[in-house]
Amino acid sequence: MSEHGRDGWGTRLGVILAVMGSAVGLGNFLRFPGLAAQYEGGAFMIPYFVALFVLGLPLAWGEWAMGRFGGARGFNSSPGIYRSIWKSKAAPYLGVLGMIVPVIIYMYYVLIESWCLGYAWYYLSGTMAQVGKEAATLAADGAPLSRVPYENLFSGFTGAEADGAAVTGAGMMFLLFCFVLNFILIYRGLSKGIEKFCLIAMPALILCAVLVLVRVLTLPNITEGLGFMWNPRGAPDKPFVEGFFASLMNPKMWLDATGQIFFSLSVGFGIIITYSSYLKEDDDIALSSLTSAAGNEFCEVALGGLITIPAAFIFLGAAAVGSTFTLGFLTLPMVFESMPLGYIAGFLFFFLLFLAAVTSSLSMLQPAIALLEEGLGVNRKTSVSILGFMTLCGTSFVLYFSEGTLALSTFDFWIGTFCIYLLAMFQVFLFGWALGPKRGMEELDRGSEIHVPRAVGFILRWVAPVYLMVIFVAFVWEQASAERESNMFAQIVDNKVVMMSVGFIVLVTVFFLLIIHQAVKRWQLNEAQQEAGS
């Protein structure tokens, strides 16, 4: 606890690693390499780095600055912080986005976390070796391994075959462990729980990744795998330079590169703004924010970019690159089965994914804890209990409606993508227009240990809103024009599970709106008492 009796950070390194831990997740090691390989190899890195400088870093700086601004005025929750920046009656209620995004993402993220832990345990216990033997026995002529045992193992965890299958599946024990672990650490508070865990888990994660990287880089023919990941290929029917520039003209690549930066840095999740609100008024935020972002980029580009796709390409070829889950839970176990010392590498890889997932999920409930404490005046124990019950309901919902992972995909689309865009656009508006670039940059500069370019204020006022709006419209257009069976808007009417999932999201939103309404009343009462006292 801080000197004012509020929860707070113990050390500067602790807050940097906690924010870094919140950002580093499965996307760094699975989604980024998959996208880079999909889009013309190295050509992808140009829109990727442009998005990092034009959108990612300015947004992260803006979120840290607004968080500390609100924290200095006694607010830790998004609704309170937004209200302190924008004197509009709507401001705290729009903060509901900062509640539902992390809380609902937690509900399905903890499930994925348990899959990572389960796979790590299977490598340790020898189960994966048995699956590997079965895959070798069932292999078709010429193929080293059959994919079927790995698919069976994964569907045993996810219950993808039928609704309710996951409840009695192998993953329940791991899910229970992850749920309890998260709540113990969250209950212990920022400095004693989250910060202490991240101080150990983040270096451990990087160590595991470096060990796996050494194993991958010492494989024979590794340059072929690296080439598949990093060679700028261009359009195949054109000369290299012409093809390279032609591939840069692909708008979908820019859209996906920007989305990757955006989700990877965890901007627009409502987490950074709450974390930074616990900093002291004159603490540096510019360097801390840059360090967290740099740590996330290191894990993504230098570790994720050198491990996953090069290893998959060497053993299984270009066709092995699939979606995030396919790459992580089907392709990579086959790759580890094929390589010498693969069981050790497999354990280390899934354990590092587990650590990355825990450090992310730990951060997701802090914004709601802050609101419950501020809005209802309850202590941490009560607010953690309320959230424990709520997230247990949500995770059980996702766990039960597991056929085709439909409930999980629906939550991920509406909350993990759609609402994140909305929240990020609102936060850009708050910094660029409500707080204003002048006050915003003054806030960012206070206590700063590096010089933040003046262009950041301009970018957050003019460039980022347009950039985000274009990407959001393109995203909505892409979804709306998709075939009916894969159109998430049409699925609300067509599919009962999607309809119920959206209904669940609405219920959680209403719950948080009621809490925010109560919080606004308390804040108004406090302000009236202070005015009367002075």
Partner: protein, 49 residues
């Protein structure tokens, strides 16, 4: 692996590694900013007596 591939990989990986190294160096070598708390004797009330 082509020269373009080596170039892209080295520049990308080198950039993020250098950025992180520089940031960690700055964090570890810059003393933490702490709010100066004034003791009673430090405060000049500008009273004449």
């Amino acid at each position: 692996m082509t020269i373009g591939g080596w170039f892209t990989m080295i520049v990308s990986v080198g950039f993020v590694t250098s950025l992180l190294s520089w940031c960690v160096f700055k964090v570890l070598t810059t003393p933490e900013s702490t709010k100066h708390i004034h003791g009673e004797l430090d405060i000049d009330t500008r009273d004449r007596d």
